[in-house]
């Protein structure tokens, strides 16, 4: 589970521990967790100061997946950055693309001018990807908690989504499907029927998931009353997404900002209610994700209804009709944000009006802000509960390290 960092190791030079092992008290112990450990969900390294079995302090060490996204974005034209955006949150690439193209379109003055069909297809694929992302979160969290079956079930159902999106865009995870001002392709013929079939297939499956995971007494025993994040701390600490909603605040940017066509769609926002334990514990965060899958299915059904009735495919529809030949926004600063599966994903741009390249492109990463609360909520818990807390925050290191 852990490994002791030897003095003189290169790890200590480039990523030194915060605590000095030589200055600890007698009962204290320093444990290194990660960066290559399955339960840290990627390349997250934790330096844990222990007192026996009790965690006294957690120090996350980041940067093992840092790929200089912001530096790259300052050197490439706007449309060439989209493949890099996919690699931020690689399990929910469509949501990342949605945030990015929304920001650039707002700068170009294209927002609200695109065909309704383009907007509905964007929402449809973003919600499909949200389900896929939540399936990863739920499946791997079950695995962390010792439940083996949900992992295989979730991966199997996620595979259906990935195959559909592969059919749509040509790749399984990193799509490059949404373009500034439109889409790469229209939906393939038969896609709407396939999605409808998938929705009716998934509904009973979600009830089975409740039986095997969320209502399982072993799972409840591991997650209820564990890692309680009080609402005040969640807001003050910048938590968003299921982490904030699990603490009991009905705050979802799809409703608050109402970007794209979300105001036309009907869905509710699930929040943590402390059903099995305290409000804001690990179980509540998991439960919010399960309920959000149901809400996403509702949105998908409404999108399919619109896409097969008044917005159905036609020969005249060109998904690239409004794609600008040259993306050169006038000088301005703009911050655009969407609700990604993990929370508020924002892009800040500064354009100088003279070039096709932004002066500054900053990502407001939801996983990064959510993870920064880990030391706050894991003081005084058992080491095994620390694993439960990391899993319930659902971090994707690609987005944390950028």
């Amino acid at each position: 589970m852990s490994q002791i960092v030897q003095p003189g190791s290169p790890l200590l030079v480039s990523e030194p521990n915060k605590f000095d092992a030589g200055k600890l008290r007698t009962e204290e112990m320093l444990i290194n967790l990660g960066p290559q450990h399955p339960s840290t969900h990627g390349v997250l390294r934790l330096e844990v100061l222990m007192d026996g079995e009790i965690v006294k302090e957690v120090v996350p060490h980041l940067g093992y997946l840092h790929r200089c996204f912001e530096k790259h974005a300052e050197q490439l034209p706007y449309n060439q950055v989209i493949p890099f955006v996919d690699r931020l949150d690689y399990v929910a690439a469509m949501n990342c693309e949605h945030a990015y193209v929304l920001g650039v379109e707002r700068m170009m003055g294209l927002e609200g001018k695109l065909p309704k069909r383009v907007e509905y297809i964007r929402v449809l694929v973003a919600e499909l990807n949200r389900i896929a992302s939540h399936f990863i979160a739920l499946g791997t969290y079950g695995l962390d908690m010792g439940a083996f079956t949900p992992m295989f079930w979730m991966m199997q159902d996620r595979e259906h989504i990935l195959r559909m999106l592969e059919w749509l865009s040509g790749s399984r995870m990193l799509y490059n499907y949404m373009w500034v001002g439109g889409l790469y392709f229209d939906l393939p013929v038969g896609f709407e029927e396939q999605v409808s079939a998938f929705v009716s297939y998934l509904r009973p499956k979600m009830d089975e998931l409740d039986t095997i995971l969320t209502e399982n007494s072993i799972f409840i025993g591991r997650t209820a009353h564990v890692g309680v994040l009080p609402l005040e701390l969640a807001i003050n600490g910048g938590a968003t997404g299921p982490v904030l909603r699990g603490s009991g605040l009905r705050y979802d940017l799809r409703k608050v900002d109402g970007y794209s066509v979300y105001p036309e769609l009907e869905f509710s926002i699930p929040i943590g209610e402390g059903k099995m334990g305290t409000v804001g514990d690990c179980w509540d965060r998991t439960w919010v994700r399960v309920r959000e899958v149901h809400e996403s299915l509702r949105i998908i059904e409404q999108c399919i209804t619109r896409l097969t009735s008044d917005l159905k495919r036609s020969k005249e529809f060109n998904p690239q009709e409004f794609v600008p030949g040259k993306i050169r926004p006038k000088a301005q600063d703009l911050y655009a944000r969407v609700e990604s599966p993990k929370g508020e994903l924002g892009f800040y741009f500064r354009a100088d009006g003279k070039s096709d390249i932004p002066v500054r492109c900053k990502v407001r990463s939801c996983s990064f802000s959510n993870l920064s609360l880990l030391p706050e909520i894991s003081r005084g818990v058992l080491l095994a509960d620390l694993i439960a807390i990391i899993g319930s925050i659902d971090v994707v290191m690609g987005e944390v390290d950028r």
């Binding site: 290169p10 200089c68 600490g237 910048g238 600063d333 924002g346 802000s369």
Partner: protein
Amino acid sequence: MSEQLLHEKVQVICGRDVQQAEQYSPITFRLQPDELMGFFERIKSDTDLYIDRLSCITGIDPGKDSEHMEVLYHLESITAGILFAVLISVPKSNPIIPSVQSIWKSANWLEREIFDMYGIHFSGHPDLRRILMPADWEGYPLRKDYVTQNEYHGIQVEANEESKTNSL
């Protein structure tokens, strides 16, 4: 709350004529670094504004010729539904601004990231270490005058002029 009302409110809190930055979305106000802490404490407890969330902090280097760097705070009130930003400017020769970590905990890592990428020091920050780059990295990567180091722990990085021109 309309932008007009918000602007008036901000001017009342600052007690002076506050300039609104042009071509910024959402609405942005220019402040001085020394009035930052007082302003943030006031807007957090103000009954009309009640800014409970610091959403994002962005560091900006406007260019090689500029003698200043900028820091942009995106603030939000969930209860009042207000979103606005505060822009401050800090000289490149002596980049020190106060840390707002004591007001909003979300500032902790965001400030560390700006320190890592721009070398701006946040006075009063409890744990100002590099966060994304290795601790022994030289220079601040997102500054416009950043020079890539050629060698790192015995690994040769061919980041000289020749490979730069070939890459794009």
